[in-house]
Subunit: 304 residues, 2 copies
C-alpha cells in the first residue's frame, strides 16, 4: 500500500563534534520518504524555493518516490542551522528561516488523497490538520511533533492528535506533552488524547511501542560513531510506516517488526551527515542489520 508524506524540505547547516555540513538536504519529508521508499511506494508533498538544488534529490525519484507533489514557490527554501554537543541527544538551534514554508498550504492530488497511509512530518499542527481533512479514507495516519508546538501551540496540537492513529514523539517531549515524569504514565495519558498506537523515541536508548496491551522496547543499534543525528526520528518513522504500509496491517507482530525496521533506518541515518548514508543504502544492508537486531535483544531458553 502507498504512503503520502507531508512535511518540511530544508537545507540544513549542521555542526557536530565530528564535522559539519552546509546547506545539505534535510527536513522531515525528505528523511521520511527516503527511508520509507525501501519498503513501499511513497508520494512526497512539500514546498521548495527557486534556489533548491533539484538534482540533489534525483536519488529519490530513482527509488520510485513520487515527486509530483513537490511545489516550487517564489523565494528561498526553508533553512535550519544547528549543532550538537558530544552527547548528541539534543540539537541546539542557531537559526530557522521558514522562507517559502511560511505561506505553504499543502496541495494533495487525487492520487495523494487516496493513499492508504498518511504521515504528517513535524510542521505546524494546524497545517497537519488541514492535510488530514483532505485525505479520503486512510488506513492509518501517523504524526510527529516537537517541543516547539507542544509549548507554543498546545491547543492546536491536541486537536490534531485527536485525529491521529500513530503518534511519534521523543521521551522528553512525551513527558512535556503529558505533564508527568514517568514514561509509562505519560504514554497512557498521550494515548488517551487520541493515538491508539504510540512510539516514544529515546535516541541512543532506543524506542518504545505502546499499542493495545503491548509494551515493546527496542534498543538502539550500538554504533561507535554517530556523525549526525539530524533526521534520525524521521528515518525511524519512515522505516516504521513504510514497513506497515508494505504489509497493509497493524497487528502486533507487524508493529513489533516495524519498530525494528524503524530502528534500523535511524541507525543508518546517523552514520553520515545529512542524507549521505540513506542515499547509498541498499535493501540487503537493511535486512542484514535487521537480523543483527535479533542478536542484540533476544535470549533463549536453556536446554534442560
Amino acid at each position: 500500500m502507498s504512503i503520502t508524506v507531508v512535511g518540511s524540505i530544508a537545507l540544513d547547516s549542521v555542526k557536530t563534534p565530528f564535522g559539519e555540513a552546509k546547506e545539505a538536504l534535510g527536513g522531515s519529508a525528505l528523511y521520511f520518504s527516503s527511508a520509507a521508499s525501501f519498503f513501499t511506494p511513497v508520494s512526497l508533498v512539500g514546498v521548495i524555493g527557486e534556489d533548491f538544488p533539484r538534482g540533489d534529490i534525483d536519488f529519490l525519484a530513482k527509488r520510485g518516490v513520487d515527486l509530483s507533489g513537490l511545489e516550487t514557490a517564489k523565494g528561498q527554501t526553508f533553512r535550519w542551522a544547528g549543532s550538537y554537543e558530544y552527547d548528541m541527544n539534543e540539537a541546539k538551534t542557531h537559526a530557522t528561516h521558514l522562507n517559502v514554508f511560511e505561506t505553504f498550504h499543502p496541495k494533495l492530488s487525487e492520487a495523494h488523497q487516496q493513499a492508504e497511509f498518511l504521515f504528517l512530518g513535524n510542521i505546524h499542527p494546524a497545517l497537519q490538520r488541514e492535510v488530514i481533512g483532505k485525505v479520503a479514507k486512510p488506513l492509518a495516519i501517523g504524526c510527529d511533533t516537537m517541543n516547539f508546538w507542544i509549548q507554543g501551540s498546545r491547543e492546536e496540537l491536541l486537536k490534531t492528535i485527536r485525529l491521529v492513529d500513530i503518534m511519534f514523539i521523543n521521551d522528553t517531549e512525551a513527558r512535556m506533552l503529558a505533564g508527568v515524569p514517568n514514561l509509562v504514565k505519560a504514554a497512557r495519558a498521550i494515548r488517551e488524547m487520541g493515538p491508539k498506537i504510540l512510539v516514544i523515541k529515546k535516541g541512543e536508548h532506543g524506542a518504545m511501542l505502546f499499542s493495545g496491551q503491548t509494551v515493546f522496547s527496542v534498543p538502539a543499534f550500538p554504533l561507535e560513531d554517530v556523525f549526525d543525528p539530524t533526521g534520525a526520528g524521521d528515518s525511524f518513522a519512515g522505516g516504521f510506516m513504510g514497513y506497515l504500509a508494505s504489509k497493509g496491517d497493524l497487528n502486533d507482530r507487524v508493529l513489533r517488526r516495524a519498530m525494528i525496521y524503524g530502528s534500523v533506518m535511524a541507525s543508518f541515518n546517523v552514520e553520515k551527515f545529512s542524507m549521505e548514508r540513506l542515499k547509498t543504502l541498499t535493501k540487503d544492508e537493511i535486512e542484514q542489520r535487521f537480523k543483527e537486531f535479533k542478536k542484540l535483544s533476544h535470549y533463549e531458553e536453556l536446554e534442560a
Copy 2:
C-alpha cells in the same frame, strides 16, 4: 555454586517525590545478597555497629544467607542520607557517615575464601583488592564502583579493575572512567582495562552486556511507579551473579539470561522503599516477570 559478597551495610535515610524512609536497611551487600539469595547460596561479609537492628535482617537468614561474616564493631553503623528528584536517575547525597566502616577490613573465613563466585560491592577499590587477595580460586569476580572512586581514587580503581572478570557500572560512570562520550567506545576501553565481561546499567533505559563479540541490550521493566531507586544496581548485580552461580557457567546464553534476571530483580527493588519489596518477594513472582520480559523485547518472523 556459592557466592561471597563483600560490601557496605547501611542505615539509609531516603527522600523521593513519593515519600521517605528513615534509617532503613541499605548498603550494597544487603541489596546484593537479598537478590542473589533467590538463586544460589550466599555468604555476606561486612560490618555493622552496635546500634544495628539485627532483627531486621532475619529475613536474610531465613532465605539461607550465611551471616557468619557479619562483624559487629564498636560504634555506629554506616549511614547514608540522600534524595531523588522526579527523574529518579541520580541520587543527591545529603550526608555520609562512615562510622564503623571507616576502619573496616574484611575477614574471610575458610568457607568464604572457597566461594566460586565473589562480588565486590561499591567500597574503596583498595579494600576490594584486599578481598581479591584473600579468595582462593574463584570462577568469576564481579565488581561494582561509583563516580566517587573514579574521580578520587582512579589509580587504585584501575589496579582493582585489572583483577576483575565482570564489571558493573552505570552509563555516566562508564563515560567518566573511559573518558569518551560514546558508550560502545567506552565499553571497549573499559574491557581493555581488565574485565572480560562488562555490564553497563542505564536506569530506566535498561542495561547492556558486552562479552566476547556479544552486545546484548535489555530494556528496563516498564513501571508506572518507581518509589525508590536506591539499591537497584546492587539488586541487578545480585540477580545477575546469583543466576550465573546457580548455573556455574559464563556462556553466552547464560549471560543473556542473567541480564534478564538482573533486570527483574532491579525492577522489583524500586517498587517500594528500602528492601521492603525484596523482603516479601517470591520465586514465583520472579519467574513470572522473567516471562514478561520476553513479551517486552522479542519479535517473531511472520508467516509467509
